[in-house]
Amino acid sequence: MLNNLILAKSIFSAFNPMAFVDNLKYMLSGMIAIFIVIGIIIIITVILNKIFSKK
């Protein structure tokens, strides 16, 4: 129990709200990257469908 209290204290003493703001750049670049990759995959899939579609 004492260990948990110490751990809880260490977690909340390490609480750093500015880290949220600092890491927003990863959120933005991550979401942009994932939309770009999925966008590329969509375009390729549309092209594949057009080239090999059953007539």
């Binding site: 948990n4 709200p17 890491n23 959120m27 999925i38 390729i44 594949l48």
Partner: protein
């Protein structure tokens, strides 16, 4: 009388074991047994991911028996007292990411990309629904180190194997929070039917939930189905090379399925291989659920953040669909509920959306669209895992 005394003396080890149990923090073991019991109960009574929750629940009880022989025990100086079978399995299959990757072959063989190839635009919702991963990462970074926060964020991938691979690569298998991350990832996947509906209802109006999306059946050529897994592997691999093992194994399984000349391998991957690995995976993950590692404030915080990730994944998909509707003409609007299916929990999430649609309007069939989005969530979550690794793996 002497005879009875002798027997009592012989049985004194029972009393010693019991007193050792209490001294060693017996309540912690009892709490873990209760957690194991709850997992087994959810698996059997509510049919929630029974293939994973049942082995995990039983494994939790197994490793939390004082001085359990199922896990490797050490002296205070770190010397091995006895090797445990579950620890051996953990080192052989999870610490080196082998089990989750092999499981991906089975999952790939099970997935039919047909609904997605019929309407590739649906894939965009798979991307939007990864928002929870990155937002949770930002939230977790306020309490944890960057790598720990990234590993916690990936719980939002709603994909157990991806969570295991990312957490192992960023933190190492022995890290104290890896177990909580694995447990959260698998438990919340099972709880998708409970977590998603209230979030979807909160973010949509009844009018929006009633939007019908006629499904246009199109033929997809066999060649397209064969080329798709290869193309995805190359594109994802070039952008996020760290994701190659994840996406590669998933797409390899799908290629076996679609090539048409390996039907018996495809069958084996879908059934025997996937089942075997699932049995070992579930019970081996429980190896990380020792009371000493699991019962602490960190675990509670991780479970809370994991739930947060699932909620924001769902919200990301739904809100993105609502945003797109602003630009779409009447009659072409999207039912925003399908955005919620963009998480990787396949096929639960797709079914949840389909059932919600039927509940609002018994004639509104969203299954094909929601399954298409759900499949894209599978791809997008693996790519998101690869991106996280690219950002933070030094």
């Amino acid at each position: 009388m002497d005879f009875l005394m002798d027997i009592l003396k012989e049985l004194s080890f029972l009393v010693e074991n019991l007193s050792a149990f209490v001294e060693a923090g017996g309540w912690k073991y009892l709490a873990m047994w209760a957690i194991g019991g709850v997992l087994i109960y959810l698996a059997i009574r509510h049919d929630m991911e029974p293939t994973l929750l049942l082995p995990m629940g039983f494994g939790t009880i197994l490793v939390n028996i004082p001085s359990s022989g199922a896990i490797t025990r050490f002296t205070e100086t770190g010397e091995v007292i006895s090797e445990g079978a579950l620890t051996t399995l953990f080192n052989a299959g999870i610490a080196n990411e082998l089990f989750p990757l092999i499981l991906f072959i089975g999952i790939g063989a099970m997935i039919d990309f047909g609904p997605l190839l019929t309407n590739p635009k649906l894939m965009i919702f798979g991307a939007a629904a990864q928002f929870g991963i990155f937002f949770t990462f930002c939230m977790a970074s306020m309490f944890f180190t960057t790598n720990e926060a990234a590993s916690i964020g990936i719980i939002g991938a709603a994909d157990g194997p991806t969570a295991i691979v990312v957490a192992n690569k960023l933190l190492g298998a022995d890290n104290d929070i890896t177990g909580a991350i694995m447990v959260a990832a698998y438990s919340y996947m099972a709880l998708v039917p409970i977590i998603q509906p209230p979030v979807i209802k909160l973010l949509t109006t009844k009018k929006e939930r009633l939007i019908r999306m006629p499904y246009e059946q199109k033929q997809v050529s066999k060649l397209t189905k064969i080329l798709f897994p290869i193309v995805i592997t190359v594109v994802a691999g070039v952008v996020a090379p760290e994701s190659v093992s994840l996406i590669g194994f998933l797409m390899f399984g799908n290629l076996i399925r679609e090539c048409g000349v390996l039907n018996s391998l495809s069958d084996t991957a879908q059934k025997v291989l996937a089942n075997l690995i699932t049995i070992f995976l579930g019970i081996t993950i429980a190896c990380q659920m020792e009371a000493s590692k699991f019962l602490n404030v960190n675990t509670l915080l991780i479970l809370g953040l994991g739930l947060f990730a699932f909620i924001f994944d769902t919200a990301g998909g739904v809100i993105f669909a609502k945003f797109l509707n602003l630009f779409l003409p009447k009659g072409k609007k999207i039912n925003p509920m399908i955005g919620a299916a963009g998480i990787s929990a396949f096929p639960m999430s797709g079914r949840v959306v389909h059932k919600l649609g039927l509940k609002e309007d018994p004639q509104n069939f969203l299954l094909m669209q929601s399954i298409g989005v759900n499949v894209s969530g599978q791809i997008a979550s693996v790519i998101a895992g690869g991106l996280i690794l690219s950002f933070f793996m030094k």
